[in-house]
């Protein structure tokens, strides 16, 4: 993805941004920064940071929590596990496995990670399946079935399946399950996508494979299907030590706001998300405009996805049109490696909004809650798992509702502070990397117990 030129103000939003990155003349209002400088990491993504160790999390979740993970892992010492997915880099699953695999090895669950291979035709089919399983229109052809099964068969012959636990991530490698050894090997299907309304043909094709697993894992109750195997709930999680979520110096927050032309002396309402209609960015601007009639504030719309996705570019154009010449609406199209800047923007915010109308789990909500910010979010997908209405955040169903909650939170700072505090604790208890280490260890122990004491019929 190419980094995108900056725009912070109304004139850029209406499309008058110059094509080069030369400095722009000083603004008419000296107190406001007219243009932000180039992002800190302009040309290339920063080098990956080494994965953390369990003890690194002690200062965040406490020593007792980390001790418990080690107690939980005692009976699993020496057990082996293989994670299999379809990509080594990019995407949330690879990112999660990059962190999870070393942590499981640290507690002596011997874990390795394999990636399936395939040609372009295979990944075109899997992408189509992915969209169809999330409700998209698709006509399943015999040719697509053949490509899907043939590539899986090649991977079945290539990959060694010697471990006691095999975890298959997502639909792409699901047909590997016939590789199961006759021993007490346990196969787990970890589904990261929303299966609540799948294309019946594609789900009908995949379902017989899924039913051969010992257990399935979903990211939300609403994503699951009726299956004859046990289904568990693993919420997605954030890493509190990552660039996006770690504690940062106040000076960096101040510098970031200055560069982006954000006035920290006034309330800041922020939505961080891709420029995607499912995130209703236009609705956010409408809600902001309604709220601002009664309370002074600025809106920051920070996102990406407009350079490598034609629809994203169209949505960004719409957002800029709706923002018009409003000097208090700051639209930022950031490259994906601006995690520290996103972190700073979230920390600078008075209220964070995620007014999605369709959502997976909504990790941007998790990030906002983790930073102790009062958060307003659409009651869709996995968001109600994170936001207990009026206790850990505010759930909304409309533009008007969103506008009201912005006004309410900006005018009731003590309530907003308590919401933010509860939200952070909710994430600490349920949505951090360490919680997911605990879930994996628990699942392995439960499956081991079940295997040694199978239910009687």
């Amino acid at each position: 993805m190419e980094p995108v030129e900056s725009q912070t103000r109304s004139e850029t939003a209406s499309g008058s941004l110059p094509s080069d990155s030369a400095p722009v003349a000083a603004p008419a209002e000296p107190a406001r920064v007219e243009r932000r400088r180039k992002p800190r990491t302009w040309e290339t993504p920063p080098a990956p940071v080494p994965p953390p160790h369990l003890d690194d999390y002690k200062k965040i979740v406490g020593a007792a929590e980390i001790d418990e993970l080690r107690f939980l892992a005692r009976d699993l010492k020496g057990k082996s596990l293989q994670m299999i997915n379809s990509t080594a880099v990019g995407g949330g699953v690879a990112e999660m496995l990059n962190q999870m695999v070393p942590l499981l090895n640290e507690v002596e669950v011997n874990t390795r990670w394999a990636v399936i291979t395939g040609g372009n035709d295979f990944f075109e089919v899997t992408k189509a399946f992915h969209n169809a399983l999330q409700g998209g229109e698709y006509k399943l052809t015999q040719h697509a079935r053949d490509i899907f099964l043939m590539n899986n068969e090649q991977n079945r012959q290539r990959i060694q399946f010697e471990e006691e636990f095999i975890v298959i991530h997502d639909p792409q490698p699901a047909p590997l399950v016939p590789a199961r050894k006759e021993s007490r090997q346990q196969w787990i299907w970890r589904c990261h996508i929303d299966l609540s309304n799948p294309n019946p043909e594609v789900w009908g094709f995949l379902r017989p494979f899924v039913e051969k697993y010992d257990a399935a894992i979903f990211s939300s109750q609403s994503f699951a299907r009726q299956l004859p195997i046990s289904q568990y709930l693993f919420y997605p999680c954030i890493d509190p030590l990552s660039e996006k979520n770690k504690e940062i110096d106040e000076s960096f927050v101040a510098q970031t706001c200055e560069e982006f032309g954000i006035d920290r002396s006034r309330p800041i309402v922020t939505q961080v998300s891709r420029f995607d209609r499912a995130k209703d960015p236009v609705g956010v601007i409408q809600a902001f405009k309604q709220a601002r009639k009664y309370v002074d504030c600025q809106l920051v719309m920070a996102g990406g996805g407009a350079t490598d996705d034609p629809e994203g570019a169209a949505v960004l154009r719409e957002v800029r049109e709706v923002a018009g010449a409003d000097r208090d609406i700051i639209v930022l199209d950031l490259p994906p490696w601006c995690a520290l800047e996103i972190n700073a923007l979230q920390r600078a915010s008075t209220v964070i909004v995620q007014k999605s109308v369709k959502e997976g789990f909504g990790l941007t909500v998790t990030e906002a809650l983790w930073k102790g910010k009062p958060t307003i979010a659409g009651a869709v997908g996995g968001i109600p798992n994170q936001i207990v209405h009026k206790l850990t955040g505010m759930l909304v169903h409309s533009v008007d509702g969103c506008a009201y909650q912005i006004r309410y939170l900006l005018t009731h700072p003590e309530f907003a502070r308590q919401l933010g505090q509860n939200g952070r604790e909710h994430v600490k208890e349920n949505f951090l990397m360490t919680t997911n280490v605990r879930r994996w260890l628990l699942l392995l122990r439960i499956l081991l117990t079940r295997a040694s004491h199978p239910p009687t019929v």
């Binding site: 406490g62 007792a64 929590e65 001790d67 418990e68 107690f71 939980l72 979903f218 109750q221 609403s222 699951a224 009726q226 046990s230 289904q231 568990y232 709930l233 009651a379 109600p384 207990v388 209405h389 009026k390 206790l391 850990t392 759930l395 169903h397 308590q418 509860n422 604790e425 909710h426 600490k428 208890e429 349920n430 605990r438 879930r439 260890l441 628990l442 699942l443 122990r445 439960i446």
Partner: protein
């Protein structure tokens, strides 16, 4: 532990050690769900006991940091998804400490919803804003490294364990013990003869303070008993 070393010398001892355990739970998605109060009542009647346990006892731990009156998932759903404040109020008033069996707890919840629907029959089939999914808790009990033979060791154990262990011994214990009590009070009373400390522990209100605060109050009571 340094704080323990500063404490005075009275350290009642027991011949029966207290083993600090903790428990971890994994959420299992069950086949029951409700898109109306009528379906919710059916779910309440027929879901597995592990579901009732999850949405009452366990959810207290998942939301242990909330002081503002989070009671159980059923009450929260009645309010936020069904917009039925009187039903929510009655479900909120269900106090898990008054139950030593999940079956009795289920019966109480069923009774509340039945009574509400008897008086408000039109509410039964009204479509609600969000589906209620009955989940179940699969529990694994895990021993910790903490064992107490004296009151001082007991205080050290309390300081060292997580709130999950407090939940296990202090809140969920009554389902194991089948008593209106908890593991800590039982040990203090039966093995150390500290009846007053045991009684004080049993009076801590788990609904109006966080689990961290519950832990601190327990430690304070035990430290006072040491003096």
């Amino acid at each position: 532990m340094t704080t323990a070393a500063l404490l005075p010398t009275r350290t009642p001892a027991s011949t029966k050690p207290f083993y600090f355990n903790t428990s971890a739970h994994l959420l299992r998605i069950t086949r029951h769900k409700a898109t109306s109060l009528a379906e919710f009542l059916e779910g309440l009647r027929h879901c597995e006991e592990a579901s009732i346990f999850q949405h009452t006892f366990r959810t207290l731990q998942e939301h242990h940091f909330i002081r503002e009156g989070f009671s159980n998932d059923f009450a929260q759903w009645a309010l936020s998804a069904c917009n039925e404040p009187s039903l929510a109020e009655n479900l909120t008033s269900v106090d898990v400490r008054e139950f030593t069996s999940v079956a009795d707890l289920r019966n109480r919840c069923v009774q509340i919803v039945e009574e509400f629907l008897t008086h408000t029959p039109l509410a039964a089939d009204r479509t609600v804003r969000e589906t209620f999914y009955f989940c179940a808790a699969d529990i694994v009990v895990i021993p910790t490294n903490y064992v107490a033979r004296t009151l001082r060791e007991f205080a050290e154990g309390l300081r060292g364990v997580s709130v999950h262990s407090i939940q296990h011994h202090f809140i969920e214990a009554r389902l194991r013990l089948k008593l209106m009590s908890n593991d800590f009070s039982q040990w203090l009373h039966e093995d150390l003869g500290l009846t007053e400390a045991a009684r004080q522990l049993n009076r801590i209100d788990i609904y109006t303070i966080t689990l961290e605060d519950v832990k601190k109050q327990i430690i304070r009571i035990v430290e006072r008993a040491l003096v």
